[in-house]
């Protein structure tokens, strides 16, 4: 029951705070004053954060709704009860703090070092693929090629980390070589769509998808059990019949933990998370504090004006795609250099989800580089909570995945919420519910408004 009280208390505090803000703002408006809140509210970043939170909450609420619906749908042998739905809600919101059940069978919560550490570990590559998508977005490009870039980098990272003998080169240097090797090949994979876009005006989405499948098949071929040139990476003599799972610790290469394993005991987290956060901050600085970032953003929001200002928009497109590719590459390097992860070639005839998940991460962060750190952590949090749901309640793993997916989906609505907050879209409930055969003037207004926006992005 303690969990419930907690939850209620939080709700009351939040509701009280929001009411206070609204009332004080109203009063100030009457007296023609501005409050600190109104001033902060005008800031773009504040609106971004607020809209992200709103979409997260909406997603979570809908996730909870599904838990209830599942209980109500009668299926044979279903073990779901109202209690499992209530447990489920608690787990969706705070499964990460779950520490098991007490003697009465109710859930207990507390600091769970394994869960939190694992969340950070899972967030590491997501931060970077999210950044990859966000950087491209800022330049007006859609990098749907992150999975391919990730996969290309996976292979090069593994090849370098496993084939350079650590008896000759210090493992740290092998690590560094493999890390940068992965970034380079990721950048290469990203730069191809960039070049096609800049020089031939081929839509980057098409080229990216093509590059994804080239990558998927190429990597599978490289490590193929029969014909792959790197099939014997783990065992150069080829005598031992090893399972074909590639793991960098085989060569003694692994990202150091640097004490993080002491804080988050028993979890997989390592120094990679710090590297990812540092990279996010670096990208933030590059985009917002340097002339190079100024150029990229100018190209992204108005290509014609950028051209007019003497900015080479072709170079911008190419470089931005190279950076995006490099970031997706770094994601793979950090993931596979962790040491506890393994790569099984059979499974990789498909494209890695972590690449695609960069898209919701970027959307949820409204393309803000530092924001991707938080949104990636949030999405991994959902994963961890989902796992708790699967282990602690009768909900099966498929339902858990569906719920996580729905929450992620709604999270991506943050841009919509931001437009609402900016007053660009007016919501009129009456209009939504009234079925209207004729197209209203209002919708036309809106359409032209979005068209204008599109033009800007193009």
């Amino acid at each position: 029951m303690a969990g419930w009280l907690w939850f209620l208390l939080q709700l009351v505090i939040i509701a009280g705070f929001v009411t206070y803000l609204i009332i004080s703002a109203k009063k100030a408006k009457q007296e023609n004053r501005t409050t600190w809140f109104m001033k902060t509210w005008e800031k773009d970043s504040v609106k971004s954060i607020a809209s992200s939170l709103m979409s997260i909450i909406l997603g979570l609420l809908i996730g909870c709704l599904i838990l209830f619906i599942m209980v109500l749908i009668p299926t044979q042998g279903s073990k779901l009860s109202m209690k499992s739905a209530i447990d489920g809600i608690q787990l969706i919101f705070s499964g990460i703090f779950n520490t098991g059940r007490n003697a009465n069978g109710s859930l207990i919560f507390g600091f769970n070092s394994v869960n939190i550490g694992d969340m950070l570990f899972r967030a590491t590559p997501l931060i970077l693929t999210g950044l990859s998508v966000a950087v491209a977005f800022k330049t007006g490009l859609f990098n749907i090629g992150a999975p391919g870039q990730y996969l290309a980098s996976t292979s090069v990272t593994l090849i370098l980390a496993l084939s350079i003998p650590t008896s000759v080169v210090h493992p740290i240097f092998v690590w560094i070589i493999a890390f940068f090797g992965g970034i380079l090949v990721g950048a290469l994979w990203g730069v191809v769509p960039g070049i096609f876009k800049a020089l031939l005006n081929v839509n980057e989405v098409i080229t990216c998808i093509m590059m994804n499948w080239i990558s998927a098949n190429l990597v599978t071929m490289l490590f193929d059990k029969q014909i792959g040139p790197f099939k014997n990476l783990l065992d150069p003599s080829g005598t031992k019949n090893l399972a074909y799972v590639f793991k960098t610790t085989h060569n003694g290469v692994a990202t150091p933990k640097l004490g993080l394993d002491l804080i988050f005991e028993g979890s997989q987290v390592n120094f990679g998370i710090i590297i990812a956060i540092v990279i996010a901050i670096l990208i933030h600085i590059i985009l917002n504090k340097t002339t190079f970032g100024y150029q990229l953003k100018a190209c992204g929001s108005n290509k014609n004006a950028a051209k007019y200002a003497g900015i080479n928009d072709k170079v911008c497109t190419i470089v931005s795609m190279a950076i995006a590719g490099g970031l997706a590459g770094a994601a793979a390097s950090l993931y596979y250099l962790a040491g506890n992860t393994e790569f099984a070639w059979e499974t990789y005839q498909s494209l890695p989800a972590v690449g695609f998940n960069g898209i919701p991460v970027a959307l949820l962060a409204c393309n803000h580089p530092v924001g991707t750190v938080f949104s990636a952590i949030f999405i991994s949090l959902l994963d961890v909570n989902g796992m708790q749901l699967k282990y602690m309640t009768p909900y099966n793993e498929y339902i858990t995945s569906i719920i996580t997916a729905i929450i992620v989906y709604f999270s991506a609505f943050s841009l919509l919420f931001k437009q609402i907050l900016n007053g660009k879209i007016k919501i009129n409930l009456k209009n939504i519910f009234k079925r209207n055969s004729e197209k209203t003037v209002e919708t036309i207004e809106k359409e032209t408004a979005t068209e204008d926006k599109k033009e800007v992005i193009e």
């Binding site: 109104m38 100018a298 108005n302 007019y308 900015i311 207004e445």
Partner: protein, 511 residues
């Protein structure tokens, strides 16, 4: 008590704490043309957007025929028969005129659009008001003037009787303006009530019955047009006297700065070059003006010289260096400044702040960056200087997003940026489009000052007044070629018109 068609009483609207409309009242009589006059950023568009339901007023009421009404969106406005022609048209390029007009109020039978009835209605309306539109033409193949008439038809088709025109004449040629004014008169005679925003006082004197003046978001007064004159209206609006004729000294041309030789630019039309074999020179200390009716290759010529469009053949020499195929960046660095024709397409990054737009061509300079890191404070300081010097008005000052600035102030920001790079050659394409008379006077003075500093100025203008007033030498363009070279002191507006229409030519045989 008089019964007004529309009354807007004590309207106040603030954006982020800054009032754009401060207790403004406006009464529109039935069947009158009511002009709305005010400086850039005075709040005219805001007031009209409130009437059309795009914004909600913070306080104040709107009455129609004496009854209080509430307009929550364009749909409500339509219900009360209020229509608006926006400054930037809202037409679907790939639809026909007919489809654009009926969009949003299609008559349907079993879910199929009944075009026949609509077509008849449109043709009838078009004839009734002399609008002369072809319902089956695609919008992308029509002229700006035609698009405007389509917007007017859109309002008439919906039986609107309150018609709002937001700066309709800013984008039209003098001929089209004359036609539009006639149409407006006809509409008013048939009982429609019209609200008309313009910066051109002559137009107000020509068609309006009454005129309401706003200044800095406040109501100044309403006057009967028959009892006033240009000088008085200007004073009401700006709060001081404005000189309409630019005072300038004799022109003393120096060395050649720009030399254009047999230039050909292909443009968008097939099998016809937009710019065909054009040659001319611009010297230090003179203002050369390219005049002509819109669409005769002036835009392409400007884009060709500034490097935004590729050159097919011919050459451009700038300060002794050939720049025919140089990058835009190179041209900018050599001292070429460009006030572009289309401020939203080229002139501004609308999502950037005003200050970031003001350094669009300078962000890379020593003053604003160190080791490629942007010096934010320097940019702020510089932006504040320019805002002060060029009187750029925006509620949030340098940090205002360019998108929410008023049209005229966006233009002033571009002009400030381009003049302040201290150029060798200033290419100004319709620099005063959408500016109020006070701002026009100021900009004209700035352009003359540039000339007197020994800079070369190449001006493109559609306004005959501006051409005659400002230039030292006029080149007339017709169908992509230069057909006349005139001295403004020795020519008349009539003669200029003949050249522009292509009936006269004094550079024959010269190619």
């Amino acid at each position: 008590m008089e019964n007004y068609a529309i009354e807007m009483l004590n309207i106040t609207k603030t954006f982020g704490g800054k009032p754009a409309n401060d207790n403004i009242s406006l009464q529109l009589r039935k069947g009158e043309i009511h002009a709305l006059l005010g400086e850039n950023g005075a709040g005219k568009s805001t007031l009209m957007s409130i009437l059309f339901g795009l914004y909600q007023a913070d306080s104040g009421i709107i009455k129609k025929d004496g009854e209080v009404i509430e307009i929550k969106g364009p749909k409500d406005a339509n219900k009360y028969r209020i229509g608006m022609v926006h400054q930037h048209f809202k037409l679907v390029e790939v639809f026909t005129v007919l489809e654009n007009i009926i969009l949003g109020s299609e008559t349907t039978k079993f879910g199929f659009i009944q075009k026949k009835e609509s077509r008849e209605k449109i043709i009838k309306l078009s004839e009734e008001y002399g609008l002369n539109v072809d319902p089956d033409k695609l919008i992308e193949n029509t002229t700006v003037g035609m698009q405007q008439r389509v917007e007017i038809l859109k309002m008439l088709y919906r039986d609107n009787d309150i018609l709002i025109f937001d700066e309709p004449t800013a984008v039209l040629t003098p001929q089209e303006i004359e036609e539009l004014l006639k149409i407006m008169k006809r509409l008013a005679e048939s009982g429609k009530s019209i609200l008309f925003i313009t910066h051109k006082i002559n137009e107000i004197l020509a068609v309006a019955d009454r005129c309401t003046v706003l200044r800095k978001g406040q109501y100044v007064g309403t006057v009967n047009v028959s009892e006033t004159n240009k000088v008085e209206l200007t004073e009401m609006m700006v709060g001081r006297k404005v000189e309409f004729v630019v005072q300038k000294e004799e022109c003393k041309p120096g060395d050649t700065v720009l030399e254009v030789n047999k230039l050909v630019v292909s443009g968008s039309k097939k099998n016809k070059n937009a710019v065909n074999n054009v040659s001319f020179k611009v010297r230090r200390g003179e203002i050369v003006c390219i005049a002509g009716i819109d669409g005769n290759g002036q835009s392409e010529l400007a884009y060709g010289i500034t490097g935004l469009e590729k050159i097919k053949s011919g050459s451009i020499v700038f300060n002794g260096e050939e720049i025919t195929h140089s990058s835009v960046n190179r041209r900018n660095k050599m001292g070429l400044a460009h006030i572009p024709e289309d401020r939203h397409k080229f002139g501004l990054v609308l999502d950037f702040t005003l200050e970031n737009n003001l350094v669009l061509k300078k962000y890379n300079e020593e003053q604003f960056q160190k080791f490629r890191f942007i010096k934010k404070d320097e940019i702020r300081k510089y932006a504040e200087e320019l805002i002060e010097k060029f009187d750029i008005r925006s509620p949030q000052g340098p940090t205002n997003s360019a998108r929410t600035m008023s049209g005229g102030n966006q233009q002033k920001a571009i002009i400030a940026r381009e003049i302040d790079v201290n150029p060798e050659l200033l290419i100004a394409v319709q620099p005063t489009r959408g500016l109020d008379v006070g701002a026009i006077e100021f900009i004209h003075k700035q352009i003359v000052a540039q000339r007197d500093l020994g800079k070369a100025v190449l001006l493109f203008s559609l306004e005959l007044d501006e051409v005659m007033n400002l230039s030292d030498r006029i080149l007339v363009m017709y169908e992509g070629e230069i057909v006349g070279e005139l001295d403004p002191k020795q020519t008349t507006v009539n003669e200029l018109g003949l050249y522009m229409a292509g009936t006269k030519n004094n550079v024959k045989g010269d190619n």
